[in-house]
Symmetry: C2
Subunit: 379 residues, 2 copies
């Protein structure tokens, strides 16, 4: 059957819409990408999302309205990907919509309980596209004590597991995180953890040193040399020794961390700083495997994903750190990096339509497996 | 099968939970109330709701967290009504949860599109009670151009329609609104409109003149006499001549309206003012019928609901205005006034479980009939 996945990340790069053919469910799922597109989010809506996410002072009507406005945008994205493929959305069995995260509280603080809030009204999407919509995937995992993230390990298990070899899916977003699929694993053997910084430190240093948002293709890092003192200091970071499951974020590797490094090493060549920070990202990934994956699993390949997969210098450095392991991209495996998350939600939505669980307790910390999301029928 | 309805109104009087036995669907629905309870909302949660509803400056994390906190409260209410009846919630076929409205935008203004926002996370309710939950009823009606309210006319049609006589359901909340069920009607003949003020003017005057929130049982009104000048002025109110469908609210009969009246008639006896305002409420109801119902329908009975049904003086005045029509309460018909709205959501949820529509386009202004709500499965 036909199914659509819709994803919009916190970077607000646009709404990813993928149209797939799916058959079966659970371990028997077969999925094939038919069409993909990314739709811009109008500027005024982006600004509203930004205000919500930044936890600025707002009024309730902003969120009330934005939920509906985003619903229309998600519907347009779904209709676009159908149009591109020459398919009528009525013929789609379901749309799985992640929604737009406007807040995520993995741990209680102050007056707030652990919770998460994705918006983009499913009733609007269902009605405009005339097909069932599954949405609100993360809340159910949190209802059983999970952090509501990551949810991709389930789809990675479906797409990439091998009978005879372990596979690692390394995502390099702001933070690096890995999903490990042991050889011949069942879903219960799958585990995931944050390896450390992804692009976060590199990007922050690029902003401060070059007024650029990232090191395109790793070009600047490729021209620099490793600063041994900085390397030695970074290698000692305590996060590397923490045992999984573990998560990290902006509070550990954000702006203040990078600012402090740049202050201490301000006499150094800028290219060398970017090169050394890129090396540290590669090292933190490789070291995670050496410490917590390789002792238990014969790892034959690592498949990179996320924006960092486009950083050729970073990829090269990971290869140098892990000489006996193939470092691949989604494209090497016949998948699209850009469509990966949207496809993941097609797989999760398909499980929900079959009333089958799709969270991975080893990855989210949930107490049990649960059916994710809710279903909105059209008409 | 067993089903639970959960309702929490904007007055924050508590969460109403009703357990019912339901069979069939659509016009063949049969429903029987088994157990009912109202659960207090903790003060800190009430305060958070109040801040959202008042459109005060808040941050997104408040709503993110409150959605989960309210989910737990709704789950507790559902478990309470089961406990009261000696039933395990696992044996309940579905819970229909209205949620807590924290904002409703029937018409676009400024930067906001028509939209509505009910919270009280269904994933939490489904998981705690281990049964499917239907929620978010109002959004789908708005997705097809309706105002998302009123939704009770569908359940009133199911419960009260008669083959040989027209029936009017008069709700007296802050605003008065009526649902008219013509003799032998189908759902397409049902219509509803706001008759004018309900308790809004009386309550506001009680606050200003007596520092009380309402005229209990209509006692003060019963002691007063009609002020002819005030009566004449009120009778001329333009809303009475507007043809249905029509809606009104605080912008017309709220605090400024009452303040102006009290200023003009400040020399008058306080009891007489309350009596005259109570009379005007009765008159606006009766006049709506005389102008817009009785010319087309032989009306044999009016069934009162809402807080105003407990105002004996108001009821008496309506009887005087409509001498040939029986003025009844929910209790006279064997139903519970308190449980009425929660039961309405059992009926609406039952339709959704059968993938059957339950909005009434004549009442909400929707362009079509649609299946309301979405379904969250446990586990």
């Amino acid at each position: 059957m036909l199914a659509i996945g819709l994803m919009s990340g916190t970077s607000l790069d646009g709404i990813d819409a993928v149209l797939c053919e799916v058959t079966g469910f659970g371990e028997n799922t077969k999925i094939r990408q038919i069409s993909f597109c990314t739709c811009e989010i109008p500027l005024n809506i982006k600004e509203k999302i930004r205000r919500c996410c930044a936890n600025e002072k707002i009024t309730t009507d902003l969120i009330c309205s934005l939920n509906f406005e985003l619903g229309e945008q998600f519907a347009l994205a779904a209709l676009s990907v159908c149009h591109k493929a020459g398919i009528n959305s009525k013929d789609v069995a379901f749309i799985a919509s992640h929604g737009q995260t406007i807040y995520h509280i993995p741990h209680a603080y102050g007056d707030c309980v652990p919770s998460t809030l994705q918006i983009g009204e499913s009733a609007i999407i269902a009605q405009r596209c005339q097909c069932p919509v599954i949405s609100n995937f993360r809340v159910k995992d949190m209802a059983v004590g999970g952090e509501g993230a990551p949810l991709v390990p389930y789809s990675e298990f479906i797409l990439y597991r091998k009978e005879d070899e372990a596979v690692a899916l390394q995502n390099i977003g702001g933070i690096g995180n890995v999903t490990v699929l042991p050889a011949g694993c069942t879903i219960d053997n799958v585990y995931a953890f944050d390896t450390g910084p992804g692009n976060m430190i590199i990007d922050e240093a690029m902003r401060k040193l070059y007024r650029k948002s990232y090191d395109e293709n790793g070009l600047i890092a490729s021209k620099g040399r490793i600063i041994e003192n900085l390397k030695d200091e970074l290698m000692k970071h305590s996060y590397l020794n923490l045992k999984p499951p573990k998560t990290t974020g902006r509070e550990m590797f954000g702006e203040p961390f990078t600012d402090e490094l740049l202050k201490c090493y301000q006499g150094e060549n800028k290219e060398d700083i970017i090169a050394t920070l890129t090396w540290f990202t590669a090292y933190s990934i490789a070291e995670s495997y050496r410490k917590f994956v390789l002792p238990n699993h014969q790892l034959s390949e690592v498949i990179l994903g996320g924006g960092g997969a486009h950083n050729a210098t970073l990829k090269k450095m990971i290869e140098n750190e892990l000489p006996n392991i193939k470092i691949l991209t989604q494209e090497d495996k016949g998948y699209s990096s850009d469509a990966k998350e949207a496809i993941a939600f097609v797989i999760l939505g398909n499980e929900t339509m079959h009333q089958h669980f799709s969270n991975v307790p080893n990855a989210t910390g949930a107490k049990q497996k649960v059916i994710l999301g809710n279903i909105t029928y059209p008409n």
